[in-house]
């Protein structure tokens, strides 16, 4: 047999996929046919080749599966036709019997239920998130037709540029792939309707928005084209919630006129509740833009595709319209339209991390099932005498297999039920803090697919860990005692295989877990470039009615900031267009004497911030050279100045010896251009404006006097208690202007924390799951070694009676177990290193390398250490056996 050529041996192991009976009956014929076929193929083609082996593996796998299925069908087909009632009572009897059996062995049953619950709970929790993000259809009419529109400008280093209205206007008029499309802007304003002023948020959209979203107003009407022009009559719709809250759900609001940012506007309708899924805005207004008036890029877009149009067709369609405009507008050479599915645009970043989580919990469930299968294997041996007795008493084989499967199903259902509860409960904790990170149309409610998923994994797990032992137990029960000893050997082999697999999976999971945990720790240590502790902020906007010109705004700030600094506990106060993690305002700059950029060279967009002189002190941004702004900078009679960040020096000022004193302009920099030149007076250290896990881009700061703002973030550096400082600031604000609302109060440390929340949650979860995986694997090792030792106690005793020393026995058993562990570790390392590239590509890691040796080494050592203990305990017990006691007992 051992002389068989390698390929016949390979085929023989393939045939092991078949149930033993089939293999014993037909195996030799199939091997014979295989040999004949090999000869034929080699004669005709010279070699066997991939196609031969692929077809062979496919054929064997498919048919083996079919054979197993028909075998299990046969097992459950009753010998005589029973009525449904008889079926039910037989089933109930099985279930009752199963319960009795399980209650008799609480430790065994409890362990299995707990293992199962652990596996199911993780899967349920993660699937709930995955389902909400990626599977559940969007809550709109024909959601598959809805796409996100945007523009991209790789040459400016911008993935998403936003849409220019003149581009949108042309796309809308000339496209052939959309039913409708709308452009949307968001904003806020001071709103007055009878009572005092309040801050509201609004959405301004072109008049097509109702058609695109497929919604009807709950009351009144939507705005039409006549209201969507700069000169059209002003109109607004109220969001349903805002209508109830501010107008008590009064149906007579239609036709009323209210004031927004100083303009009187008529209420023409009330939105349905589902409109809040698109935006939480209080008011919806027409966009009222003029396509001939270019005001830059700043709009979002939503399109509804023709029923038969694809995203690619739509992109090509818009691109050809867009590029045909180059003759009129050069800049369309640089910008291009992008069409994305909603999910890809807003949730694409989460796809990989939730995929990783899903893989992690699947691995945990797999390990749990392997362990349960191991436990059942071990038990099926101890029960084979029970089975033999029942067989001898005339119980049909199928009846016994059914009984065993019923026990598995009962255990699985109990575990599944417990796991489902744990999972739903655990996922609340997972989902709730996440909710405001996602678009409003994402919902994590429990639904049909969640239920189906739970049911499927519970049943799947039950069948996987239940059917195989059931078939084997009933087969071995019928076999002779000679066959039984081989079956205990093959069972040991199966269990060893399970252990190796468990260790490998646990190691791979621990590596990913270790990497993400390390990564989040590194990110937490990353210097954000400013001092977040004690920094709080709020927003303020000066309505153009009463603060129409620069002087009025500057006068307000000049009086306001010293008063804020007089609050006890406030060390410094300043205003800025955007604090770290705040909004993005990008512009382009050219440095004096810089070589013109090549055609295809990236001209990076520059983050532009306007700050009052005290900004650098308040926020804790250090200057690496030069000076901060002072009260004279930006005055009309002085020079114009700018402070740049270190990245800007690298991207724009690499041609000068000393960046201080260099000049730059927001214009083209050519002689005819009269855009002002600004002198660099300071170099600020980079601030992680987009979060510590994002790359920083070039940035500049202007003094407030140079670009006076009408809306800004007020930053306070507070020592001690923050809430007292905020209320004092609010009082000062009201004292200065009773109609100014203070809004969006933020504590910087919380903002930073929040920005890393998804990463932290992912790392916690993968870390936790890998810990569970490790525990399960350890339990598996312990179980298998204990079982093996138990099986071999007689042999060990004989050897010890013959004079073998304790240490030899101990060493031999330990070696046997550790070989399995080492195999698992090796396999796991190979798998993790292969997966490292995937982890890198996923963007899951920012702070550490996916091949960080610390993690691989640490994880390997941990596994070897705990596996060693799990191995040592049963080995020591075996070595401590009293040989005479064991031998007499038999």
């Amino acid at each position: 047999m051992d002389q068989a050529p390698a390929r016949l041996r390979a085929y023989r192991s393939l045939l092991r996929l078949f149930p033993r009976e089939f293999r014993e009956e037909r195996g030799w014929e199939m091997e014979r046919l295989f040999v004949d076929m090999c000869a034929e193929w080699e004669e005709e083609r010279g070699k066997l080749g991939l196609r031969f082996w692929a077809s062979l593996v496919w054929d064997t796998g498919k048919e083996a599966l079919g054979e197993w299925l028909s075998l299990s069908r046969e097992l459950f087909r009753p010998a005589t036709a029973l009525t449904i009632g008889e079926h039910m009572s037989a089933l109930m009897g099985d279930i009752r019997f199963a319960f009795r059996q399980l209650v008799r062995q609480p430790l065994y049953s409890g362990t299995i239920v707990l293992l199962m619950a652990l596996g199911i709970a993780g899967n349920a929790a993660v699937f709930r998130v995955f389902n909400g993000l990626f599977l559940r259809p969007l809550p709109f009419e024909s959601p598959e037709q809805l796409v996100d529109l945007n523009e991209t400008a790789p040459q400016w280093d911008l993935e998403y540029l936003s849409i220019a209205y003149r581009d949108f206007d042309r796309w809308r008029a000339e496209n052939r792939t959309f039913q409708s499309m709308t452009a949307i802007d968001y904003g806020g304003g001071n709103f007055i309707a009878g009572g005092g002023p309040q801050r509201v948020s609004f959405l301004a959209a072109t008049h097509d928005i109702d058609e695109v979203l497929g919604i009807e107003p709950m009351l009144g009407r939507f705005f039409g084209p006549e209201e969507d022009t700069p000169e059209g009559p002003r109109a607004m719709l109220l969001a349903h919630g805002f209508w109830e809250q501010e107008f008590g759900g009064d149906r007579d609001v239609l036709g009323k006129t209210v004031t927004l940012n100083g303009f009187p506007i008529e209420i023409i309708g009330v939105l349905p509740t589902e409109a809040s899924l698109i935006s939480g805005a209080d008011l919806w207004l027409p966009l009222r833009l003029d396509p001939t008036d270019f005001t830059g890029w700043g709009l979002n877009g939503i399109g509804r595709l023709q029923p038969d149009a694809t995203i690619d067709q739509a992109r090509l369609d818009l691109t050809s319209i867009h590029k045909a405009m180059i003759d009129e507008f050069d800049v369309n050479e640089i910008s291009s339209p992008v069409v994305n599915s909603f999910r890809d645009r807003y949730l694409g970043d989460y796809r990989l991390s939730s995929g990783f989580l899903l893989a992690a919990v699947a691995i945990v469930l797999l390990i749990a099932c392997a362990n349960i299968a191991g436990l059942m294997f071990a038990r099926s041996l101890s029960r084979s005498s029970e089975m033999s007795v029942r067989l001898a008493l005339g119980a049909p084989r199928m009846r016994i297999a059914r009984q065993l499967l019923t026990e598995s199903l009962v255990l699985a259902s109990l575990g599944g039920l417990l796991g489902a509860f744990l999972g739903v409960w655990g996922s609340e904790a997972l989902v709730l803090p996440m909710a405001d990170q996602f678009p409003r149309w994402v919902s994590f409610d429990l639904d049909g697919s969640f239920l189906m998923f739970l049911l499927a994994i519970v049943m799947g797990a039950a069948v996987v860990f239940g059917l195989a032992p059931a078939l084997q137990a009933s087969a071995s029960a019928s076999a002779s005692s000679a066959a039984r000893s081989t079956s205990s050997l093959s069972r040991r082999r199966v269990m060893s295989f399970l252990v190796t697999g468990e260790v490998a999976l646990a190691l791979a999971l621990l590596v990913v877990g270790g990497l993400t945990v390390l990564d989040v720790r590194e990110l937490g240590r990353t210097d954000p470039g400013f001092e977040p502790e004690g920094l709080i902020s709020y927003n303020l906007s000066l309505p153009s009615g009463r603060y129409g010109d620069h002087d009025a705004r500057l006068a307000f700030v000049d009086e306001y900031l010293p008063r804020l600094e007089s609050i006890s506990g406030v060390e410094a106060a300043s205003v800025t267009s955007a604090l770290p993690l705040g909004s993005h305002w990008g512009r382009f700059y050219v440095a004096e004497h810089a070589a013109p950029r090549a055609e295809d060279e990236i001209n990076p967009v520059v983050l532009t911030r306007v700050v009052s002189p005290g900004f650098f002190e308040t926020v804790g941004v250090r200057l690496s050279a030069g000076r901060p702004f002072d009260d004279f900078d930006g005055r009309e009679d002085g020079t114009h100045v700018v402070i740049v960040n270190e990245t800007f020096v690298a991207s724009h000022l690499s041609h000068v010896q000393n960046p201080l004193g260099a000049r730059l302009t927001g214009g083209t920099g050519t002689p005819g251009d009269d855009a002002m030149w600004m002198t660099v007076v300071g170099i600020a250290r980079d601030v992680k404006h987009y979060g510590v896990d994002e790359e920083m881009i070039p940035g500049v700061y202007f003094p407030l006097r140079q670009e006076p703002l009408s809306g800004f973030q007020v930053a306070l550096r507070v020592r001690g208690e923050t809430s007292a400082a905020v209320s004092a600031a609010r009082a000062i604000t009201t004292e200065m202007d009773a109609e100014l609302p203070v809004y969006d109060i933020e504590i910087m440390t919380e903002e930073l924390d929040q920005a890393l929340w998804t990463r932290r949650a992912t790392s916690w979860l993968i870390g936790a799951f890998s810990g569970v995986a490790l525990l399960l694997a350890i339990a598996g090792i312990y179980g298998v070694i204990s079982y093996t030792v138990g099986q071999r106690s007689k042999e060990i005793s004989i050897r010890m009676a013959m004079g073998a020393r304790k240490e030899d026995v101990l060493r031999q058993i330990l070696r046997q177990g550790m070989v399995l562990v080492a195999l698992g570790v090796g396999l796991g390392l190979v798998v993790s290193l292969a997966g490292a590239r995937l982890v890198t590509a996923s963007g899951l890691l920012v702070g550490v390398q996916a091949t960080d040796p610390r993690v691989y080494l640490g994880v390997t050592l941990v596994i070897l250490a705990v596996a060693g203990v799990a191995n040592y305990l049963p080995a020591r017990r075996a070595a401590g056996l009293d040989p005479m006691h064991v031998l007499r007992g038999d």
Binding site: R26, L33, M37, K62, A64
Partner: protein, 106 residues
Amino acid sequence: MIPRPLKPQYFQILLALAEGDRHGYAIQRAVLAQTDDQVRLWPAMLYRSLAKLEEAGLIRQADAPADQPDDERRQYYALTETGSVRLREEAEMLARWATAARGAAI
């Protein structure tokens, strides 16, 4: 009972055995020839089909023919009476279908 119409591989196997008793490899070759090299019955598919057909009584295991002493170590299969009746019925049914198809295509 094997439902009508027969699965294509069952039909081809019965057809191959109609010409005389054959062993597995010979059946595979015959089916290839019958189908202009279109259908190759790979081992697992072939032997599961043979098991099913045998169970349904359409074929039976047979001894190697006396003139093939080398083939003692191969299992031969033969068509049973039921099998050859069933093959004839199926062939007639296929013929009727083919006629109908030809009629519809014109």
